[in-house]
């Protein structure tokens, strides 16, 4: 591209038509026709502009005429060039300004896009936060509901505990009385059947009250009515007594293999941990039935200890697996389970800073891992 300051040529300054008209005009003034061209002819004199020869003027009747005509053309050139130069620099600066504007526009556009993107991201973040708040509110509502249900249940359980206690005790005394009555009755078939039936009734009633008592105990643990003081717990011994309790519950028919490593003591609530282990073992016992096996293992490393309770029982169907930790969810017949066992177990483990994981395959068995940290977060 030519710069505005480049020396113009004759054709830059005048179109052929204008040049022709200029030649005609000068020819009319002179005695003989003159011609202006970019090429030098025989008698031509230079037409100068800006110290530059832009063309040659030939013809005319004399040197004087040629000189005068060339001088006139130079004079005209000055004004033509002045306009041309002004127009060129105006064009150049307008182009430059336009390019600058375009660049600024481009930069503005880019920055606008950036801000739009930022704004979108911000909106997305706000939406996410709103979702989190909404979900937290929902959870808060759920937990408040659960807590009030728990409190109600615990209150009811507490009230039931005393009557259940004396009913259970009275029933046992009554069973003894029935045994005492047996020799006093006349030995007839009818009487014997009556007595046997009576004893069965009492035994079943005792069983019923025991079950009520255990439900009440679960409920109390669940709602933390009677929190034991924090103590250093030996998980192995808690586990052994829980195994023993479960064996008693199931008439010592269970095949439990204990594989216990040496464990550091950890701070915790012994009764609640016992309850947890008992619940897990009881679940396993119910899953395996009479001929299954339960494996109990403990492990320790420098970060924490693990209790693994594994059975080869019926497993948990996939359809209910997501619900097993829900409070009051149970697969057992009405009256035989509170639906709080795993809930209590998980909450207790969490309260001790640990976690409870559950792997199960229907028909193959279930494996529960309780991980507890050695040092609890303060």
């Amino acid at each position: 591209m030519r710069n505005f300051e480049d020396d113009p040529t004759l054709s830059d300054l005048l179109t052929p038509d204008q040049l022709q008209r200029l030649s005609n005009g000068l020819s009319a003034l002179c005695r003989k026709p003159v011609e202006i061209s970019e090429n030098r002819a025989g008698d031509a004199v230079p037409v100068e502009f800006n110290l530059e020869t832009v063309g040659w003027l030939s013809g005319g009747a004399s040197d004087g005429e040629r000189e005068a005509a060339a001088e006139l053309v130079s004079f005209l050139m000055l004004f033509v060039a002045k306009y041309r130069l002004a127009a060129n620099i105006h064009h150049d600066t307008t182009e430059a300004s336009y390019a600058e504007l375009q660049r600024q526009n481009e930069a503005l556009r880019a920055s606008e896009a950036k801000y739009r993107e930022l704004s979108d991201q911000l909106q997305q973040k706000v939406d996410e936060q709103v979702d989190v708040i909404r979900q937290t509110q929902q959870e808060l509502y759920e937990s408040a509901r659960l807590r009030s249900v728990g409190h109600l249940a615990a209150g009811v359980a507490h009230e039931i505990n005393n009557p259940v206690g004396f009913i259970s005790s009275n029933l046992r005394v009554a069973r003894d009385y029935v045994q005492n009555l047996e020799p006093l009755l006349p030995e007839t078939l009818e009487n014997r059947e009556l007595l046997e039936d009576f004893q069965d009734l009492l035994s079943e009633s005792i069983e019923g009250t025991d079950r009520i008592a255990s439900i009440v105990a679960d409920l109390k643990t669940f709602s933390s009515i009677d929190q034991a003081d924090n103590a250093l717990c030996d998980l192995n011994s808690l586990l052994r007594s829980a195994c023993h309790l479960v064996q008693t519950e199931h008439d010592h028919r269970l095949n439990i293999t204990e594989n216990l490593a040496e464990l550091p003591r950890i701070p915790g609530h012994p009764s609640r941990l016992s309850q947890t282990l008992f619940n897990l073992l009881d679940n396993a016992a119910r899953a395996v039935g009479d001929d299954g096996r339960i494996l109990v293992r403990t492990l320790a490393d420098n970060t924490g200890i693990q209790v693994i309770i594994q059975d080869n029982g019926c497993g948990i169907p996939e359809t209910v697996r997501s619900q097993v930790f829900d409070a009051f969810f149970t697969t057992r017949p009405v009256g035989s389970g509170t639906g709080l066992g795993l809930t209590v177990a998980r909450d207790t483990v969490r309260a001790h800073g640990g976690q409870l994981t559950l792997d199960s395959q229907e028909g193959a068995g279930t494996r529960v891992v309780v991980s507890l940290p050695v040092q609890q977060g303060s």
Partner: protein, 222 residues
């Protein structure tokens, strides 16, 4: 940058008169046009608006032809000083070989001088020139006016810069204009001679260069 066309044996140089509005750039050029009598001098082209303010630029071509046939041209330009014509200033400044910065000596104009000097620095940078290496003369004009900054103070203020000593002028009276121009030619010659070997190839030494391009009426060529 010098524009050398080997086929024509022509070397064209560009000098730009820069400075704040109404500091006398066009007056400098008009005085040079009337005072100078170099071997070759073209028409002074003035593109001003109705109120005598420069709209685009003014231009005065001068030149000389050496014995070796070198056609040496010097085009002297002014820029419009008004703030709004910055893109025109930039266009005129591009490819400059030397600059005369025409400052206004009046006390009240010192801020405008500083702003214009900063603008020169910026625009030189934008057109790829370096103010520290470009041949430049700083002229304080309007010495004939009453409320001007003392010359000693000005010289002291600029003493540590590459542009000391300053040139003092009163362009309207015609004093100091040619001296300013000669100082510029002197600084311009160094770089041009180094690049084109003016002294060796074209037998134009420093005093010939300055003398022949700034010859004034009534003074013989050097």
């Amino acid at each position: 940058m010098p524009d050398f066309s080997p086929e024509d044996n022509k070397l064209a140089l560009k000098v730009v008169f820069y400075g704040p509005a109404l500091s006398g750039k066009t007056t400098n050029l008009m005085q040079l046009h009337s005072l100078l009598n170099p071997e070759r001098k073209g028409e002074l082209m003035v593109l001003e608006t109705r109120d005598d303010r420069t709209l685009f630029f003014d231009m005065l071509p001068i030149g000389l032809r050496s014995h070796s046939g070198l056609d040496l041209r010097l085009k002297l330009y002014t820029v419009p000083g008004q703030v709004q014509h910055d893109s025109t200033r930039k266009a005129v400044l591009s490819r400059a070989d030397g600059v005369v910065f025409v400052a206004d000596s009046q006390v009240a104009q010192q801020d405008n001088n500083a702003i214009a000097f900063g603008n020169l620095e910026d625009n030189l940078d934008k057109v790829g020139l370096d103010i520290d290496t470009l041949p430049m003369v700083v002229q304080f004009n309007k010495r004939d006016l009453p409320a001007v900054v003392d010359e000693a103070e000005l010289q002291a203020r600029w003493a540590g810069t590459p542009w000391a000593p300053l040139a003092m002028a009163s362009a309207l009276q015609g004093t100091g204009v040619i001296e300013t121009f000669q100082a510029l030619l002197d600084r311009l010659y160094t770089g041009i001679d180094a690049e084109f070997d003016l002294a060796g190839k074209h037998s134009i030494d420093r005093s010939t260069f300055i003398g022949r391009l700034s010859a004034s009426h009534g003074v013989d060529d050097a």
